[in-house]
Symmetry: C2
Subunit: 444 residues, 2 copies
């Protein structure tokens, strides 16, 4: 039976006592960034809790009270992540005990509740603004869904030729853009870009007409690896701190024109949206399930043997409140551990805070595809919304929300929301083009 938390947690909440995701927030009334843990409709303020003694009973060799004050006093999670799994486990145990209604941990919180002063340690989620949870050095985007790669390949190269020869041998990936990663709730401006309409011989610089979403899950890397030293498969899990939802917005018309031969660039570098709460691998551990079998067998450096497994996380895409896709993290062909190993296989070093995203997650059914280009099958089918309107790609004003959770009612381990709304392409774009034309002199 689910344990009961010290605050009311609705059965449908993503943030049960089993979850306890970490995030960075500021109070609406305060510019200061703080680390928090989500519990129901509340946020536990970890800096105040550390100062108040929440971690005083932890094993000091593993996670000392001084370390807790230091790492939870930061404006990002990086310092906490660097401490490693024993510290994370100890911190989680202490926080879970403190928030357990029938537990005995952190007397100060119980006293604060009794005297009506709980706001010293807790605030309401509606009173905070969420920020990016970590400093991200590098962002890498994989292409780890067999169905997604097959769908895109079928569209580009026709049936029978869906997958490139390398796809089943290595987790294909490319480097993404870190500067334009934004937190859920940030509006996304429809990009202008260079593209060549199907009916045209020459390219134009114009607003993208084929603006898409991509449903992905990202993992935040906990620690630095050494340059020149590949991470062995048996050690890869030590590098995984927690997961976030990722919307890798994509301008398909820009992508189609630009991507040969070096891959997508401007089609994706204008914005990438993250969910703000980092769901830890520890919270997800009870939801570990078998991963898809790999055929042909992978090379030994990627071979997980008996350790191979994945996580059962139900995922949804909402477009203006209509669920347009239901899929699952477990469909991914390549695991997070294999991504870490392959990323470092030539000696590339990972750093604490790096983001590795899965690539679009598509399941076997058309209703489980994780992007609009698949759901509308390259514009040949309508996506029907609850209000009766139809879509192929995103229109100005459209609101996209990604959701994901493991577990069952009352004990959900979920991500909250990963939201973004499309703003129309700006007049500034027009102005910039005009300014450029003017600067180019009288010839235009």
């Amino acid at each position: 039976m689910a344990r009961e938390a010290i605050v009311d947690v609705e059965g449908e909440s993503d943030f049960s006592l089993e979850n306890l995701p970490y995030g960075v927030f500021r109070l609406r009334s305060d510019a200061r960034a703080q680390i928090g843990v989500a519990i129901g409709a509340y946020v536990l303020k970890l800096a105040a809790c550390a100062e108040g003694g929440l971690f005083d009973e932890c094993h000091a060799e593993v996670f000392s009270a001084a370390a807790a004050r230091r790492v939870f006093g930061q404006p990002t999670l990086n310092a906490f992540m660097e401490l490693g799994r024993p510290a994370w486990t100890e911190a989680r145990r202490a926080i879970q005990t403190a928030l357990d209604k029938h537990g005995s941990g952190f007397a100060l919180l119980r006293e604060a509740f009794a005297s009506g002063e709980a706001n010293r340690f807790l605030c309401r989620a509606e009173d905070v603004v969420m920020l990016l949870p970590v400093h991200i050095g590098d962002y890498t985007d994989f292409y780890a869904s067999l169905q997604h790669a097959s769908n895109l390949g079928a569209m580009m190269r026709g049936p029978g030729n869906e997958l490139m020869p390398n796809w089943r041998h290595l987790p294909v990936a490319y480097h993404g853009r870190a500067s334009s990663i934004v937190v859920s709730g940030t509006d996304v401006r429809r990009p202008r870009g260079q593209l060549r309409p199907d009916e045209a011989d020459e390219p134009v610089y114009a607003p993208s007409r084929l603006l898409d979403l991509e449903l992905e899950v990202g993992v935040l890397i906990a620690r630095d690896s050494k340059r020149g030293e590949p991470v062995p498969i048996g050690q890869a899990r030590d590098y995984l701190f927690g997961l976030v939802l990722v919307n890798d917005w994509s301008a398909r018309d820009v992508q189609k024109w630009e991507y040969q031969p070096l891959g997508p660039f401007n089609a994706k570098n204008f914005a990438t949206t993250l969910s703000p709460w980092v769901v830890t691998l520890e919270a997800l551990e009870p939801h570990r399930v078998a991963a898809p079998a790999q055929q042909p067998p992978v090379l030994s450096y990627l071979d997980e043997g008996e350790q191979r497994s994945t996580l059962d996380i139900a995922l949804r895409v909402l477009l203006n409140d209509t669920v347009v896709s239901r899929t699952n993290f477990r469909y991914l062909y390549w695991t997070l551990e294999q991504m870490v190993v392959h990323h470092t296989s030539t000696g590339c070093n990972l750093r604490c805070g790096d983001l590795l995203a899965s690539g679009t997650i598509s399941g076997p059914e058309p209703s489980s595809y994780g992007s609009l280009i698949e759901l509308c099958w390259r514009g040949t089918r309508d996506i029907v919304l609850d209000d009766g309107s139809t879509r192929k790609f995103l229109l100005d004003g459209d609101a996209v929300s990604l959701r994901g959770r493991a577990g069952a009612r009352g004990r959900y381990v979920g991500f909250g929301r990963c939201d973004g709304r499309i703003l129309p392409a700006t007049e500034e774009g027009v102005a910039a083009a005009a300014a450029a034309a003017a600067a180019a002199g009288s010839k235009s």
Copy 2:
């Protein structure tokens, strides 16, 4: 006539009084990172100079003494770069006056010289260890040389089909890896990677046999741009602080197997080497020359009109002290300004410290190609070194040095060295594979 510096500067030195590049160093005896300026075989210590009053006579509204103490007291150039061109110009003027033998600036330095205490402000280059000059948020690599793109295209797709349809319409680029950027002098371990030998049906994980160099020039971005707001072509030059040499090491066999459809990843992310001294655009300004004409004309957002120009910088590649390539920055088809504009064209934001590299710079003659794969024409020709040995790709122990400079004897504006030596692939790679095989159980 060249001005004379307060210290002896050899005629062949890259670091004349006309240059004054910025870098970050530490004394061999001291772990602290400091900002310096190279002059001949010496390094001017800018934090000490700022404290000593070198910038006291600057226009305070443009570059105050307090600002100088703040930005030159940092361990990277980012804070100085963010101040913008008027401050850079003022700082350069003050430093040049102080170092001018017949000038009157910075009396304290002259007094220190007279009393034999110049080491308060100057140290010998041989007594310092150079560090990365900036904190690099994102690294982008372009593909801006027409000859290089044509050469690679001819090898991959055959003559007559060298260039992709997009190539003359936009500066093709991909996102690189920031974590593995290292400073000149750092050894580079030959990567193991997944590759499929030409004679094989199945891929292997093995040391790269086709390890290559790429001669590139990179620009460091001085300021943040706003997400969602493309930089107009007329403003692009304001984002350029200075240039460095870049060696974009490439494992061609890994690249060939992995790069479809998302571009190079592990083939390049194991190491990228930068020269340590940042040569400012201001120092290079006298060497501005016409850029190659672009045909067909570019779209208006990329059209530089009368402002279009580039820089005359002679470049060389040395392999074990043999010059194997002589080329020039001016051969690039796309300018740095066009790279900035196209990078931000969909709204991607640049940040101060970002590195934009040119891609391999190849000139029209075979002797001016900037990579070994071009110089050996995909393994069909030998590259002959001065010791009589031949190369196609890099061997263990090979030392690569990139050089570049503008100007003439006594007034060179040069980069110094961009060096790296190839270490053999480690036994650790073998050990990791063995560990993975062991972890995978008895089946292997």
